[in-house]
Subunit: 365 residues, 2 copies
């Protein structure tokens, strides 16, 4: 077996982007993935590129990471589309955050304050302004916020493009399951194996089940909805993401479960909230209930950096709900660590050492 | 091409039962069906064998037909299972009709009065009695009715068994699409082509779209629910049919539409009503949204009898929501008409002539 400069374990967006960027920097890269199909969290992801959400209020370092990665998305999208000639569904209409009930209004305004505090564009909207911007919204929202800097991408198209970019850049793909990092014939190793990273590294990455629906407009024309809508209805959060090809993504549940079942309760909750926000969705076709597991960590931030005591192995995993948004910055940080002498400062904050030295059972580094 | 005694057009339950019964009476039978797979209404059907429903109150002749066919089901099921050795999911637990709100109670009691007026067993139930009989029901139903004479069958298993019975009885199957009845090399013809009967006969059979869900209990054990439950929640009717293998069928929409789209609105409505009736369904897997079209007629009764001016052709179609329930009696009436000199009296009531002489464009009879 030839020894490569870099072995990347996992071929989701993070692994693909690392492999692509590393190959472009001149490294000989081999990717390993036993399921190169669609088993990763990215296959469910809606692809909302919004750095501020209810979950990250009070997490300044994670927020900074998300904001910086969001800022690098326009160049990343342009470069990927230019390298491949493929459309990745990148759009910059911004997000509407909508409160459907009076009780939801406080939550929406708290988010607005957080955004403006970070210097991000977020304009409060009256019901009339929301409806003028998006006529297919429910008749009487209780106000909301327009975040003009938010964007979206289609993760499924993004992965197709990243695969093509990797091929063009000379990345070799091995369809084998890696069980021991010590087996890999490579000078350096990047572990970007999502939920599978736990078994490979001993790090505390756990699966968080998400159920996501895909609807399709009758006739397959573009939906009436143009913006990504993040709605709150009676305290429940739901997002509705329209695509130009007629698809609408509705998500997502957050469940501490490992099963793969699409449940009646999740479909009911998501459809109920989505049609309350955008009534015309009632007439849309339900084409898919997608169940995947996000790789989550104890503090909900990703794990980025070399494994303690194993400088050969760099980890890029645990991105939880933020894998798509964090793809460009993660790839940049990891590839810089591979080719430059000084590791990125953010590896201090997000490195594996914050969870102590993992009890690795295999792999010598 | 050999000339057979009987050509049966359509291989749904009605066509299959006619072919089976006719072959057992000694006729040489050929069946024609271009889609012998699962495109018929039966594939969506829940298989509730309950002769009285809200739709047939005030329709004494149709009600009589339904009551008589329900009475012939036990013998039909036993004969089909004995002939094939196959389990068709026939069960006799009875139906619980449940009012979830105070406003639904009147509807439920009206149905009870109609049943007892026909001499059918229907006992009013308090909320406590309903819950004692079926502990997984919602905590506070507003009363209901126990119809101990109702039964259920699994239509998909029934079709598998009928196909086997036809094979054993020597029925020949031709997988071709019939476009002109005059082409059929047979002494007699039975048209049991569901929605396709309109084009073949000129009769007013129109498709009524139905969307039906299939859920599955986690772990695939038998559901907590034992009885068929027909529920009313805020005026919406829904049925919930448990199977011993863990499947639960939830239906059904009734839409004057010809498309095949599984819509968000239908799934939302069915899941909302079903989980309101039986809360544990929230945790069930949603395994299928099935869309099919019932063959309906202007008066919602089936069309049974020879085509006016074409005594060679007997029609057995337009069964709308009652195809499974009416299968045994329909087959009996049609086969008697084929082998006995005097046509059944019910052909007067349900014959095609009630719609005038159809403007047949093809077929000489």
């Amino acid at each position: 077996m030839a020894v490569s400069d870099l072995a990347v374990v996992g071929a989701g967006p993070i692994g693909l982007a690392v492999a692509w960027r590393a190959a472009r920097r001149g490294l000989a890269v081999t990717m390993y993935d036993p399921e190169p199909d669609d088993s990763g969290a990215w296959y469910a992801a809606a692809g909302i590129l919004a750095p501020v959400s209810e979950e990250t209020v009070g997490e300044p370092e994670l927020t900074g990471l998300l904001v910086d990665s969001a800022a690098s998305w326009p160049a990343f999208a342009a470069e990927l589309e230019a390298a491949t000639g493929l459309d990745i569904g990148y759009r910059a209409e911004g997000t509407l955050v909508v409160a459907l009930t009076a009780g939801d209004r406080a939550e929406v305004l708290r988010l607005r304050d957080h955004q403006t505090g970070l210097g991000l564009p977020a304009r409060q909207q009256t019901a009339a302004e929301l409806r003028a911007r998006e006529p297919s919204l429910a008749p009487r929202p209780h106000g909301g916020v327009y975040s003009s800097g938010d964007r979206q991408v289609n993760p499924r198209r993004m992965v197709v493009a990243l695969r093509a970019a990797c091929r063009s850049a000379g990345v070799v793909v091995e369809h084998t399951r890696v069980t021991d990092l010590a087996d890999l014939p490579a000078a350096r190793v990047v572990v970007a194996a999502g939920c599978g990273s736990a078994a490979l590294t001993g790090l505390p990455v756990r699966p968080v089940k998400g159920q996501v629906l895909r609807l399709r407009s009758p006739g397959r024309e573009a939906p009436g909805l143009r913006h990504v809508v993040r709605g709150y209805t009676d305290g429940r959060a739901v997002y509705v993401v329209p695509r130009l090809d007629g698809e609408v993504v509705v998500g997502a549940t957050m469940e501490e479960r490992t099963d793969h079942l699409a449940t009646a309760g999740a479909v009911l909750e998501l459809l109920g909230a989505a049609t309350a926000l955008v009534p015309e969705l009632t007439d849309y076709e339900l084409t898919e209930v997608c169940v995947r597991h996000r790789p989550a960590t104890p503090d909900s931030a990703p794990i980025l950096g070399p494994l303690p005591g194993q400088p050969r192995v760099v980890v890029a995993t645990g991105h939880h709900q933020n894998g798509i948004l964090l793809t460009p910055l993660t790839a940049d940080l990891v590839v810089r660590a591979l080719v430059e002498p000084v590791p990125p400062a953010r590896f201090e904050t997000f490195g594996p050492a914050r969870f102590g030295v993992p009890a690795v059972t295999r792999g010598s580094g």
